[in-house]
Symmetry: C2
Subunit: 227 residues, 2 copies
């Protein structure tokens, strides 16, 4: 497993360490930050929940206490020199405020922004934010893949289907963001998109000619009967 010194890290790690800011270290930012750290990247973390900051520090994580929407704090955190900021504050309003500040004062920052849901994502797309993460999307797809597997689908097939679903849905999100102020047009397009997605994915199953051994009710009964 090797020694600490030989861990693959950039030569000028100090510069690198200052290159990522994580604003908000709740259930979302926390996971992003820990994944980065586990890969040798040490982000600058800001959080304004003092109890949480206290607990996180006791867990050995470096977190600065403060309101990430404040310009002076962003300067102090190195936002002027950083490459990337993960925007994961508690509320979508705070996220939007931070996005606007970052856009104005730190135009070099690439922004990865947490969104509550589809409608929150629309507002971020209005601000020309490219990297928007509807916070429950991927987990719901994971649950969907597991459900399909329990029903007898092969995991590979189910995962591929979820990846395609995600691509289609992200494309639909961008189209629907544009037309959402015309309710009738919006509903028509959303309905069409849902139908299109279903037909496309089902047609793909067909093309691959794949049928799963477990995919019949009798074997399902057996499987579940054993539990």
């Amino acid at each position: 497993v090797g020694t600490k010194e030989s861990v693959a890290r950039p030569a000028d790690a100090m510069d690198e360490e200052r290159s990522v800011i994580i604003a908000g270290f709740g259930r979302f930012g926390n996971i992003v930050g820990r994944l980065l750290r586990a890969n040798g990247v040490r982000p600058t973390v800001l959080d304004n929940d003092s109890d949480r900051v206290d607990v996180l520090r006791k867990l050995g994580l470096e977190v600065f206490y403060g309101d990430a929407t404040r310009l002076d704090l962003l300067h102090a955190a190195g936002a002027g020199e950083a490459h990337l900021m993960v925007v994961a504050l508690e509320s979508s309003e705070q996220n939007l405020e931070l996005v606007e500040t970052a856009r104005k004062h730190f135009p070099q920052l690439k922004l990865l922004v947490r969104a509550d849901d589809r409608f929150d994502a629309y507002r971020l797309l209005d601000e020309d934010i490219e990297h928007v993460y509807r916070e429950t999307l991927d987990t719901a797809l994971t649950a969907g893949v597991d459900a399909l597997c329990h029903l007898g689908f092969r995991r590979f097939q189910a995962t591929r289907s979820a990846n395609k679903f995600r691509c289609h849905d992200e494309a639909a999100l961008r189209e629907l963001a544009e037309m959402r102020h015309d309710r009738k047009q919006y509903m028509n397009h959303a309905r069409e998109r849902i139908r299109f997605l279903e037909e496309t994915l089902q047609a793909e199953h067909e093309d691959t000619g794949e049928r799963d051994a477990g995919w019949d009710v009798e074997s399902l009964r057996k499987e579940y009967g054993d539990e």
Copy 2:
């Protein structure tokens, strides 16, 4: 792309269609349900937000209006014969209530349960729920993978790292659930687990001997300077 008739579906589709119930069709259940439909599975969907049910029906989705924690409604939805239920109600309290009812009256149902966060997951693990989904976990990992890629990591490497992170974190979740009522033991173990995970993942980078071309500050500056 073929005709509707040739789509791969189980021979006794009617039985199959009744085999999945989705309780709650908000941002989480909605995605699960649409992924299932796109794979030819038609779940029975219950939701007790009448406005949402109205909109979803206009979008062409079949949703029953009603409170999924009510035993009579669960019977009517076919919970007695179903194989699988996705539990994705609005609040974690409602989810827990439904889990208890399902456990008591429909012991054959496999339950896939949405959790708000780590602490909500602990409570579900207390109820011996095997399939618990912390609702923002996978999306946060997706954002983390994207962040690593922007920093010059290869996507394959970053994705593999995220998968390992997830496995470790799920294992840690189960261990920590057991010891959470002893705060000192909990904090010590959590701290150890975080450090162990970081060291393990970094050691793996080392073992593979992988270094990324873009993974130095100079090339990062070039990349971001171009935008």
